[in-house]
């Protein structure tokens, strides 16, 4: 499994300030061969979509630990669609209740990650989803 030449944007939408998980995933993706852009904290869905488009990324990984993932994920997906980038795979990591998984997947989120997964699991799921595009 290799993520070579995959361009992935790891983003922190909203006000959540816990970035270590996002950084760990970014580094793991880099170590698996991907080219990663990490946005830093406090980015708006519009900004995230703008960067995703300009950088021609294959996937966007959102990290939200503040509970606001439903609206933020929805806004990012809408922003990507508005820019003609609806084919970019969107992933979500954070404190996501299992009762909300279905709604998120229906919304267009490709996969949901939580802290208990191993990094290998995360990479495998990225790889699988990106292989489908």
């Amino acid at each position: 499994m290799s993520l070579a030449k995959k361009r992935i944007l790891i983003a922190k939408p909203g006000l959540d300030g816990h970035d270590v998980g996002a950084k760990v995933v970014a580094m793991a993706l880099r170590d698996a061969g991907a080219d990663v852009i990490y946005t830093g904290l406090r980015k708006s869905p519009d900004y995230i979509a703008d960067v995703a488009v300009d950088e021609g990324v294959h996937a966007v990984g959102l990290s939200v630990l503040s509970g606001s993932h439903l609206s933020l994920a929805s806004d990012v997906i809408a922003a990507l669609d508005a820019r003609g980038a609806g084919d970019v795979a969107v992933f979500l990591g954070g404190t996501i209740p299992h009762t909300e998984h279905k709604a998120l997947l229906d919304m267009g989120i490709r996969a949901i990650f939580t802290a208990d997964e191993t990094l290998d699991d995360v990479l495998t799921r990225f790889d699988a989803a990106l292989g489908e595009t």
């Binding site: 006000l15 760990v24 806004d75």
Partner: protein, 524 residues
Amino acid sequence: MTGVVTLPSGIEVPVVARGPGAERLGDPGEYPFTRGIFPDGYRGRLWTMRQYSGFGTAEETNARYRFLLDHGQTGLSVALDLPTQCGYDPDHPMARAEIGKVGVSLFSRREMEILFRGIGLDAISTSFTINGTAAVIFAMYLAVADRKGVPRSALTGTIQNDILKEFVARGTWIFPVQPSVRLVADTVMFAGEEAPRFNAISIAGAHVRDAGVTAAEEMAFTLANGLAYVDALIARGGDPARFGSRLSFFFYVHMDLFEEVAKFRAARRIWADLMRTRYDVTDPAAQQLRFGVVCGGSSLTAQQPLNNVVRVAVENLAAVFAGAQSIFTCAYDEAFQIPSEQSAELALRTQQIIAHESGAASSVDPLGGSYLVESLTDSMEEEIRAVMGELDDHGGVIVAIEDGYLQTRVARRALERKGQIDRGERVVVGVNRYADGRPPEIGEMFALDDGTAARVLEKLDRLKAARDERRMGETLRALAKAAEHDDENLMPHIVACCHADATVGEITDVLRDRWGEFDEPVRF
């Protein structure tokens, strides 16, 4: 401290057990406080048992507080929502999705008033987990006390007000590093004069530890931050002999019991030494490292959640052996949902059982003199000092934050730790050993009510309609003017803004205009 305590079997043991080398070690309450800051440990006074709460609107949180106080909690801990923490009003575009989710929305002094309805401000000690906007929240609190006729000198509690760790591990920074530190200093100096029983800073290692650094790094980064604040306060005319006793700290307790006990004992020794040698502080109260702790955090798992009850109990035990002044025990389901009332109660009972049944609090520093703990304390001291030296070599914490060195170090350590857990090198029962294969069920972690945002926004509208805009604007302008001078304490102006019903966002914007925003150095 002499005296004995009689154990359940009738045997008497000393309150402070001593053996060979005890004199070199020092007694509890005696410089360098390795064995604790109180000669009588917990026998004089038990640690404060704090539990967090706060979500949604001020009304909802007020109800929750009154419940907890009725059930034996001895202090209040206020969690605030992200817009409040980041200095955005609820109607700011970045705020909309986050209103009332991780804590209560306190966008104005009136909300603070509602929060404390039916609760005597001078009867209860209140701790606010607030940093970027600590000055504003503290000002609101003071304004409410003023209006209720409660003397400021009667107020007890804490504001976390530790902006340096925000840049590294928690992310609710607002302004660049230097002006942020200035604001911290202003708040501490002001509290020292106006509300001397209120701890205006709680220097935290908990968050960076939760992010993944080692015990020694946790202490080193935090003590280094502490020194940076001391320097800032001295630069603003403060006297460490006076403000030293108002500084308090806040750490995590993790699972290796002996490491944790040793790290606290070492930290007390180091801090006392630093205060004495660096700042010529001789007053013991100003040399002492006072700290609260969290038991839980990232050591908890969503898999096999009842395991967490044991983890928290072990960590609670370590905290008591280490002599913590206040202890917060996480509920066992805190890792994956809003704690149920039952689990929150159990967390409190854990402390009470350890306090009253286990005997851990009967003697002072009961592990003192243990071959293991004493040598581990010495090693921890060495390690902590070595890391502090590395920070010094880098130019100090402020430089290390501005250029991203600390943040990068934390992230790399986190990657390392995750790898260790993934590979099973670091055992986590129920996760990488004795796992049952069942995926954990993450529940709702934050406030669910979708109506909260609308209610808060409506309250914001009503506030703006009801207040005297002209007078409010004047207070903002006065603050702006004061902020042009680096040596003027901004707190009186911020308090005036709160009295005039200025919002968190409005006050913060004045300072944003002056200082700009922190430019996050994203490095790997």
